[in-house]
Amino acid sequence: MTQDTVLEVKHISKSFPGVKALDDVSFSVRRGSVHVLCGENGAGKSTLMKIINGLYQPDHGETLIRGERVKIDSPIKAGELGISMIFQELNYTPEMSIEESLFAGRWPTRSLGRIDWSAIRSKTLQLLQQENLPFDPETKLKALSISNLQMLEILKAISRDADIIIMDEPTSSISNKEIETLFHKIADLRARGKAIVYISHKMDEIFRIADEISILRDGRVVETRARADFDIDSVIALMVGRALGHGYPKEEVAHGEPVLEVERFSGPTGFRDVSFRVREGEIVGFAGLVGAGRTETARALFGLDPGAHGTIKVRGRTSKIGSVQDSVACGMVMLSEDRRRFGIVPVRDVKENVTLASLAQFFRNGHLHNAMERKKVTDICERINVRMPTIDSPVGTLSGGNQQKVVLSKWMLCNPDILILDEPTRGIDVGAKFEIYKLMTSFVKERKSILMISSELPELIGMCDRIYVMAGGRITGELARAEFSQETIMRYAMNMPKAG
């Protein structure tokens, strides 16, 4: 390896019960470069990064930092060695304030071990201003949306001034505008000689920022090359091990009566006068930037946040906005963008998680039909390619993307009339995405409806029949399929419908 190599791992192997997550992996990063890691869900990307960050210990293999052999036995050690990491799974302390979490574990102190709160405040304000994030430093993390948490996480990792920065799917829950900001940041860091490891399932991103690309498959590095030596198709082929269908499996479905009509819907979480409708057999998209209020609208609609007002009609009948149970009774369910908090029950196994929302199907007179449950769960997991040791493995041990697939399976299985999906393909690899789109299509073909919130414009454009655009808590535009284009959507999202 060249002198520039700051981080190198050699022959790393790591097993978990039932899986060999990493198998003789070697990998290196040069200073002033971005090394992208690609691979399917469960390929071992996060595991490798966690080993580098000291959270896991490898079974075999060694790590070299700036040419020296080191044993990284904890994140503390990693921090000392100049490594900082943005985790794929946002793991936060709900009761902590923004300023406290930014400096967690390295709070500056004065005499007598006293924490220097005023220093923390001023540094926080400085950082927030610098990054143009309009937060109050005292806000508790539990009040932030997942995208804002992601932005904070990025801020935290960068503010540590580390030499090696690992970013595990940092863009999975933020929208284009924030992604642009992040990429500027990365370019800047690269210019300052930092080494960056970047993991993402978004092909366009990968090719924009990579200097080198490594591809992991089933715990092995199958290829490492400079970006110029790759194209999208070859990357996908190497990742998946086969060729994939292109584009979106969108099919024309006749639209029927409106099933969901929302009028002048406002709520305390910051959306105002939102009106829209969804018809039978329709996939309706919600576009917008981070903080546009899409998630909040959907949560209030589903009954997760209290205090909203407005009228909601389901199949023409006015329904009360109350609890999740009311919504479920109306045949409406919602997949949350925050899978850790609202999606999975980490200590329980895949089977239980998948059937959680549709228990009625599997229990006759309160008694469990074991075989049927196993079969249905196995089927749906195979269909969208959930990778796990068995369906009896705790969901908490699955890779991030596979957890997302489990949550999706849960909602697909419960077969509702109206399915609200908030960032459904977050962290899901290209191969599985296609399967999920196919599932969505077959879903609406059964005269059901989908409301999809997504920050990935291509996905919205590819799959939706209509798109509403939100900005600042209001709907600023409604686009029919014929009018779809990234530019139009972005203009509405910035609340500047007129070009220019």
Binding site: V345, P346, L356, G366, L368
Partner: protein, 335 residues
Amino acid sequence: MTAVMSRETWQKLKTRYSIYMVVIVMIIVCNALNPNFLSTRNISNIAAQISVTTILAFGETLLVICGLLDLSCGSVLALAGVLSVYIFKETGSMAVAFGAGLFFGVVCNYVNGILVRYFSIPAFIATLAMMTMARGGALLFTRGQNIYQIGDYVWFGQGQIGFIPVPVVFMVIIGIVTWYILGHTRFGRSLYAVGGNEEAARASGINIGRIKIQAYLINGAFVGLAGILLMSRTNVGAPNAGQGYEFEALTAAIIGGTSFSGGLGTAGGTLAGAFIVGFLNNIMNLLGVDSYLQQVIKGAIIALAVGYDMWAKVNRTKKSLGAVELSSKPKEAKS
């Protein structure tokens, strides 16, 4: 590959059943120490001795799995027990007295459930308040005096069905009920989900509040039954009975692998936990160990048993670090 599989399987067995291994080791050691230990008579004694707290422990298991707990069970047991005894003496009907015992257990726990559900009072405080209230109630009702001469009522606690003591039969039935609830009913699934991640359970359309109340109601029936058994076993309606039983019940559940962080626990584990404590007390008495020393040894062995169990599990998980990862759900403050 098969070799790997079978090692895997062994690992898994070792992990999942490590607490039963502890039980087996204890049986072997105890038997070596005292040949009387494995006599039918002694084993059936132990089973009868632990029956009351084990029934309470099954209730705690249900509650702790769903993120709750019951500190009031020792007191509610006394209240339900003395009322049941009293009613028996008034009516002379075993059936009515039995029904009354369950009824009062359920009523007290309904209050627990309501305090937790509608007033958002933490389970610790709600059931602590009930603990004080129920004890006060039992003492008020009896003016602190025991009720003697309870006649046929003793059958519940001292009778035998075949050669098996009646309380043991009840314990087994409640164990099976708990096992069935946890593994085979919708309600059981919901308990695990609520305890494992309350917000995710709510977002999946589970009626959290109802589940919690139901958990308390079932626990209430168990507690009422335990009250009947304890009073009849000791042949006295004692308003001061059952002090500290909440601790013993929780201990059995936690030794058996139920976790205060919620979402984990089994009926079998709890039974194993109860037997571990029961064996320990029994063998030390059989051996005539000094009663102060007993306490020291008992503490040490419980730590040892759970330490081994954790080691067997973490050993697996250390390789996977799952234990840590698993506990990492962001906990929403239960305020």
